[in-house]
Structures are given as structure tokens and as C-alpha cells.
């Protein structure tokens, strides 16, 4: 044990084995299936997955995820800032704990909350004078997704906002900077990596969400996850499994593209921290 670090990598073996089992094997099966049609290697599934209704669904998913991620990033950052700078520890603890719980809300229960509250016969739909079906639209679904996305952003931003030292603001003020200058040239550059990371996280969370949309809007808002579910596990379509795999591969590519934009930006902005 004179040089314990030399064999340190052995400790990661279980993790790597686990990763290979639960991520590697399914990923290989996914790629293999996506490129197989009628038992032969083929591009037919991928071609079909990028046409017509499938393409519409993919665009719908990207659009919804982008809208939710950007809105939640703005709302979540403001909320986190308000809470972090608040003098009340109680408020701070309460909001952060609630965020931890709400960020994990999802699935059919989340859909049912909203249906019961703002659906056509919802408890307060009448009070608000909502037109029938208002919740069952693209924007209705976006609002429902914000319910878990905003708390998620609060959780992502609170530690970064804690890292903003009051001295920086004082120093900026002493040098004659306005509040706008401070935010533009000091705070935002420092916060940018966390914000970008948060946006990517939110995009991913909305992009992969399924059960809530399925229970609430069905196919009225076309989403790629609903398409995959119909093709993969349904009572209607027979023999669409490999199109589902091709759609999943498309999703992997989209997620990869988002990461490809995020990583260089993150590297560039995080220079401020070093």
C-alpha cells in the first residue's frame, strides 16, 4: 500500500461495470434496432422517423422543452435570488425544501393536480373564467412543466447565487458602477455556467417527460415521447418497435447537440471563476 493511488482506478470498476450493464447494453440494442428493418440493416427507420408526423412531434418536443427551459431559467433565477438575499432564514429554508420536493413532481399525479385545478371542470377554472380546453394546449402543458422546472432551476441556482460575495457589489459600487453594470459585467458572467447548466438540465427534463403529457393532452400536443410510447408499448400498432428505437436515437442526437452547444459556452464562461 505504499502507492495506493496507482490502483485507485480499480475502485471505479463496479461503477463502470454497472454503467456498461444498464447504459451500454441498452444503448447498443437501441442503435442496432434503429438500423434494422425486417431483419436487415437499413436506414428506413431513421428516414421515416424524420418525416411527417414524427418530424412534427420532434419539433414539438424541442419547442416545448426550449420554452420551458428558458422561462424556468428566468423565473427560477429571480426566485432563487429573492430567496438567497432574503433576511429570513425560515423563508429560505422553506423555499429550498419545497423546491426539492416539487422538482421531483411528475407523471400522472402532476397531470391530475392540474386537471382538478384548472381543467374544464377544475376548481378554479370558473373563477378565472378560463375558456374550455385552455389547459389542454401547448401553453397549458408548458405551464404544467414549469411546475417542476422552476423549482429545479431554484435548486440549480441557489448555490451559485450564494457564491456571489457582497464585497463584489460593494467594490463595483465604489468604482462607480450602476446596478445594471454590476449585473452585466460581474454577477451574470459568474452565474453563467450555473445558468447554462440549469437550462440544459431543464431542457433534458422536459424533453424526456412523458406520463404527464400522455394523461393530460394525449396527442393534441405532438411530442416525440408519446410517439415512442405508441410505437413501443401499445395495443394498436404492430411492428413499429424499430421506428421507436430510431426516434429514441433522434432524441439522443438532439440531446447531444444541446450538450455540444453547452460545453464550449460553459468552458468559456467558467474562465471567470478561475
Amino acid at each position: 500500500m505504499s502507492r495506493p493511488r496507482s490502483k485507485g482506478w480499480l475502485g471505479t470498476l463496479p461503477l463502470l461495470a454497472f454503467f456498461a450493464l444498464v447504459f451500454g447494453v441498452p444503448a447498443i440494442a437501441l442503435v442496432a434496432g434503429a438500423f434494422t428493418a425486417q431483419g436487415r440493416p437499413s436506414l428506413a427507420n431513421l428516414t421515416q422517423s424524420l418525416q411527417g408526423g414524427y418530424l412534427t412531434a420532434m419539433i414539438g418536443s424541442v419547442r416545448l422543452s426550449a420554452v420551458v427551459a428558458l422561462l424556468a431559467a428566468v423565473l427560477g433565477t429571480f426566485l432563487a435570488h429573492a430567496v438567497v438575499t432574503s433576511r429570513s432564514t425560515l423563508l429560505r429554508e422553506a423555499v429550498l425544501t419545497a423546491s426539492g420536493v416539487l422538482a421531483n413532481f411528475g407523471g400522472v399525479p402532476l397531470a391530475f393536480f392540474w386537471i382538478a385545478t384548472l381543467g374544464n371542470s377544475g376548481v378554479i377554472s370558473g373563477l378565472l373564467g378560463l375558456p374550455s380546453g385552455a389547459l389542454y394546449t401547448f401553453w397549458g402543458l408548458a405551464v404544467v412543466y414549469l411546475y417542476f422546472a422552476v423549482p429545479l432551476m431554484v435548486l440549480a441556482m441557489a448555490p451559485a447565487l450564494d457564491g456571489l460575495r457582497p464585497q463584489w457589489r460593494e467594490a463595483a459600487a465604489n468604482s462607480g458602477a450602476t446596478a445594471w453594470h454590476y449585473w452585466r459585467f460581474v454577477a451574470l458572467p459568474v452565474l453563467a455556467p450555473a445558468m447554462l447548466g440549469g437550462i440544459v438540465l431543464l431542457f433534458g427534463a422536459s424533453f424526456s417527460a412523458y406520463a404527464t403529457a400522455n394523461a393530460m393532452v394525449g396527442t393534441v400536443v405532438p411530442l416525440v415521447t408519446l410517439k415512442i410510447a405508441s410505437a413501443l408499448t401499445g395495443d394498436v400498432l404492430v411492428g413499429y418497435e424499430n421506428i421507436a428505437l430510431a426516434l429514441s436515437l433522434d432524441m439522443v442526437v438532439v440531446a447531444g447537440l444541446v450538450m455540444a452547444v453547452y460545453l464550449p459556452l460553459q468552458r468559456r464562461t467558467s474562465r471567470w471563476l478561475h
Binding site: G8, G53, N214, G218, V238
Partner: protein
């Protein structure tokens, strides 16, 4: 720090190996057991192959277990059927993922081929029964009542046999809705704004697909032409009447889905549940579009409990099993035969929603074409 970490890592590694070992389940030792005594249960095609029903019961009891999949307890009375079967034969039923879809069932058969955990028996949507039979996944078996089942509602060698079915129906909360709709044409009336829901999305849910097919028939379409059905829902959406929420007992109770298109046995089964909650749930089979569809039973060719699987079939197609379906408002395949020979429980039959005329069935080709059309056109018609 390093040593404890390494030990923890070792534990994790050991756990991983154990879990992996559980994944590779033992092969079908049951099959070899059952073949003792001269009968190979896995290849038996009738009770006679066992030497009579008693011998089949004996062989099944020896296996002791039965794996079923995708049988929701509140669907076609499966909860009670499972209970009665267990009580009658002392065979323990392990019911896996009750809410699974037909595609999941076929997947389970394929991915767990040769394993002890595979499902023994399947209750499938018609097209999955046909495609599964073509892929050679099922064992042929003729129940004792096989000859009484009408042609076209069974595969000739018994690879699959229709078990029960129902009509597309319109359920309605009669306390909240002044006049319950009795036809597809009614559904377009402005008084039903935001009320008309389905049990899911027609590219995924069998009952919702049937709803679109029935709407096609009601609107000048046919088994060959589902397009008018898609157009109907487009109109329903444009009128603001379509409600995309997936119907569940919870949404009915909440009053969000006051009108729901679903199988009549689902809607009829909701009624007594809802009465207890002060809701008067009425069921009508639409007068302009009666569409009847059946599910099918099949035995997994590599069933880990081949004798119990065959006994389950015998039970389902016995008057007792068929009447239990009827109790769940599903129309059993032997209903006409049982009405003739008097074994039907007439009190239960009288509770079924009324329907005029005899059902007709689309061919497999017609259904496949309709599904392809729906998969391509549904989203565009309903989204936005």
C-alpha cells in the same frame, strides 16, 4: 480512506454479480417435470392428450403456479376470475404488470424465452394475436368447447381463440349532462363543449382506436375506410367538444370526463363504482356506429407452467369462466352458444347495454390498413 472505499466497492461489485445472476433465471425445469408420466404438457393440444380434464387438473396442480400478465383486476372481471381459479384448483397465480399493453405481453414472451419467469398465458388485442401466431410464439391448444366457438373467432389449430369482447360505447354522467348522447352525431352538439373524452390515444389504446373506427362507420366510412372517423374527431376538436384527458375512474369522479368513449364493459363496470360516489354513469352503444371487437387468448409456446396454462384456458371457456366475464359486462365468445344451451346466467346477460343487430368483423387486412392510416393521419387531425 482507500481501504474502506475499496471494501465498499467490493460489496457493490458482489451485489452486481448477484443481481446479474438473478437476471439469468433458470431454464424451464417445469417442462421436464411435466413430461414425467408419459404426457408432455408443453405439446398437449387438448385435455384428451392428458387423459381427460381430471388428469390435466392433476398435472397443473403439480406445477402449482401460473404466470399471467396484463390482466387488470377491474377489466372484464379479471380480479374475480383470478381469485376463483386459485380457490378452485389451489394453483397460485402470479399476476405481473396488470396494466401492460399487448405489445408489452409479446415483448415479455420474446425477451424471457426459456426462462422460468416468462408469462404462461396471454390476453391479446386481435392483431397482436395474429402477428404473434405468425411469429410462432404460441402453442396450439383446443379447449373442450372449441367446436362451439364460431369460425373466424379462433385460429384453426387453436393458436389463439377469442375470449370476450365488447362494443364501443358512450359513457355519460347523467346528473351533470342533461341529455346523454346516444350517437356519434349527438357528440357534435354545442352542449357537450369540452366534455367528450376517450380512454387514451387511438394510436396507443385499443379502445380509443375502436372509437375512431366506430366513428368512421357512423359517418359514411366502412371497415375499408377509417378516414371519416379521423375527420369526425377533427370536427369534434374544432367544435371544442373534444377533451384530450385520458379517462380514468378518477377523472370521471372529478367530473372532468363527463362523456367518455370506451368499451361498453369498461363503461358499464364504472357505473356501480360511480353510484357509490353519487354519480349516475349511463352507457349507450351509439345508434349510428356499433363496432364490436374481441380480445384473444393464447398460450406461450415456452410456458414455464404448460399444464396450468392449459387448465387456465379450460377454465376461461367453461360456463363458469364465461359467466364471470359476463359479470364484468364483457360479452364472452360463447355467449350465443350458452344462450342456446341454457348455461348462461341470464340475470347477468340482461344487464348488458342494449345493442341492435348482430356484429360484423373487419378482416385483419382491413384493420392493418386502418391502423396505418390512423398512425399517419391522427396527429395532424387532432393537434394544435
Amino acid at each position: 480512506m482507500f481501504a474502506p472505499l475499496a471494501r465498499a466497492a467490493g460489496v457493490v461489485a458482489a451485489l452486481t454479480v448477484v443481481t446479474a445472476a438473478c437476471g439469468a433465471a433458470p431454464s424451464t425445469q417445469q417442462t421436464t417435470q411435466a413430461s414425467q408420466g408419459g404426457v408432455n404438457a408443453a405439446t398437449a393440444t387438448s385435455a384428451a392428450d392428458f387423459g381427460g380434464l381430471d388428469k390435466l387438473v392433476e398435472a397443473a396442480k403439480k406445477e402449482g403456479n401460473l404466470h399471467v400478465i396484463a390482466l387488470p383486476p377491474d377489466w372484464a372481471n379479471y380480479g374475480e376470475i383470478i381469485e376463483k381459479f386459485q380457490a378452485k384448483y389451489g394453483i397460485k397465480i402470479e399476476s405481473e404488470t396488470p396494466d401492460a399493453a399487448s405489445a408489452d405481453e409479446i415483448n415479455a414472451v420474446k425477451t424471457r424465452k426459456g426462462q422460468d419467469r416468462a408469462p404462461d398465458v396471454l390476453d391479446l388485442g386481435q392483431s397482436f394475436a395474429i402477428s404473434g401466431a405468425q411469429e410462432g410464439l404460441f402453442a396450439p391448444y383446443k379447449v373442450q368447447a372449441f367446436d362451439k366457438i364460431p369460425e373466424g373467432q379462433k385460429e384453426a389449430t387453436g393458436l389463439w381463440v377469442n375470449d370476450y369482447g365488447g362494443y364501443v360505447s358512450i359513457g355519460c354522467d347523467a346528473k351533470q349532462i342533461k341529455t346523454c348522447p346516444t350517437s356519434f352525431a349527438d357528440l357534435l352538439k354545442p352542449e357537450y363543449k369540452g366534455q367528450v373524452a376517450m380512454n387514451g390515444n387511438p394510436t396507443k389504446s385499443g379502445s380509443a382506436f375502436a372509437g375512431v373506427y366506430a366513428a368512421a362507420i357512423a359517418n359514411g366510412g366502412s371497415f375499408d375506410d377509417i378516414q371519416p372517423g379521423i375527420e369526425f374527431f377533427k370536427k369534434l376538436k374544432a367544435a371544442g367538444n373534444y377533451n384530450p384527458v385520458e379517462t380514468t375512474p378518477a377523472t370521471i369522479e372529478k367530473g372532468e370526463t363527463k362523456i367518455s368513449i370506451d368499451w361498453d364493459y369498461n363503461n358499464a363496470a364504472y357505473a356501480p363504482q360511480m353510484t357509490a360516489k353519487g354519480i349516475d354513469w349511463k352507457v349507450n352503444v351509439p345508434s349510428d356506429g356499433a363496432y364490436f371487437q374481441m380480445y384473444a387468448q393464447a398460450i406461450n409456446k415456452d410456458a414455464p407452467h404448460p399444464a396450468a396454462a392449459r387448465l387456465w384456458q379450460e377454465y376461461l371457456y367453461s360456463p363458469e369462466g364465461q359467466n364471470l366475464y359476463l359479470k364484468g359486462f364483457a360479452r364472452p365468445v360463447l355467449l350465443p352458444a350458452m344462450t342456446t344451451d341454457g348455461t348462461v346466467d341470464q340475470a347477468l346477460a340482461d344487464k348488458l347495454p342494449a345493442v341492435d343487430g348482430t356484429p360484423t368483423f373487419p378482416t385483419t387486412e382491413q384493420v392493418d390498413a386502418a391502423k396505418a392510416k390512423l398512425a399517419a393521419g391522427w396527429d395532424a387531425a387532432i393537434s394544435g
